[in-house]
Amino acid sequence: MNWKRATITTGLILPVIGLLAFGLTTDPKMIDSPLPGKPAPEFALSVFAPGEGQLARNVGDTVRLAAHRGGIVVLNFWASWCLQCRDEHQDLSNAARAYYDKGVRFYGVLYNDQEPFGLKWINEMGGQAYPSLLDPRTRTAIDYGLYGVPETFLVTADGRVAYKHIGPISERLLSQKLDSLLRAGASAP
């Protein structure tokens, strides 16, 4: 047995094992979006579900992102056929009501779905506090680099994407993110 050769061989193998070990620490399904930090893609989409109370917008109105400079926008992509969207539905509505007075505006965007099914779903789920918009031919979703639904984007007062969440989002996480954005906005001149 030539121990020198054996040791050299071992030395050559270790980086490969290190690489595989690194592989175990990453999740191939979590693909970082390049959007956070960049200007949020503009959109002009029409309202199909009005929302409730003071949060409501007229059906058929066009919502433009550009019109929201100065306030935080939460954009949630959803679909009636999406099972996970059911889990986050109530949390989103609660947060939308809680943060309305702080100038935060919530919008749902219907993804790969049809208006009647969306309306029926909102009805079955017991209403949606904030308005939902139609995204014909999925253009806005692709602009936002969507992988699937649900996905939620937080847009800052100066129109940048602050945060992207994949999968159902909780009220707690939303409040946490919104609070820190609001604080940052308040401290900045």
């Binding site: 399904k29 693909i31 970082d32 979006s33 390049p34 959007l35 960049k38 893609p41 679909a79 009636s80 056929w81 999406c82 099972l83 790969n112 779905d113 049809q114 099914f117 014909p136 031919r137 999925t138 253009r139 979703a141 692709i142 602009d143 936002y144 680099g145 969507l146 992988y147 699937g148």
Partner: protein, 148 residues
């Protein structure tokens, strides 16, 4: 049973909402082959981009809906005068480098492009030297060298 029905309806909705299902085939057919150069470039770009919902396939191969709409985006952008590189850049901006099925041949990525050539060249050198050694020298004194 209830669950099956929910899922079935849900899925049916997805499928029914297919943007094409709103069109008649008469409208669709001419749209399919108006400009063969445009179609060829769309197909080419679509085969270079990875489908976000199926992970393995290109958006050309993927039967999924999102892939189909992304093909439409490619076609529209090309039609509006964007160059293929600008279309690629658009998708990289939105989805990150992940979406390119063949990594850009630059920087660190050069490794993956150069290693095969290096393997053939170095291996070829070893094979050449091995054959020369075997044909020339008496066997007892030569070491056994792997050819690659």
């Amino acid at each position: 049973m209830m669950r099956i029905l929910t899922v079935l309806t849900a899925a049916a909705v997805v499928l029914a909402s297919h943007p094409l299902s709103a069109q008649t085939p008469a409208q669709r057919a001419p749209a399919a082959q108006p400009d063969s150069a445009l179609e060829a470039m769309t197909t080419r770009l679509a085969s270079e981009l990875r489908c976000p919902v199926c992970q393995g396939n290109s958006i050309q191969d993927s039967p999924s809906e999102l892939a189909q709409q992304m093909r439409d985006v490619i076609r529209d952008q090309l039609r509006s005068g964007k160059t293929p590189d600008e279309v690629r850049a658009y998708f990289v901006d939105k989805y990150g480098e992940w979406i390119l099925l063949a990594p850009r041949a630059e920087g660190l990525n050069l490794i993956v492009y150069l290693v095969p050539f290096a393997a053939v060249l170095l291996g070829g050198l070893v094979v050449w030297r091995t054959v020369r050694k075997w044909t020339a020298a008496p066997p007892s004194s030569t070491a056994d060298t792997p050819p690659g």
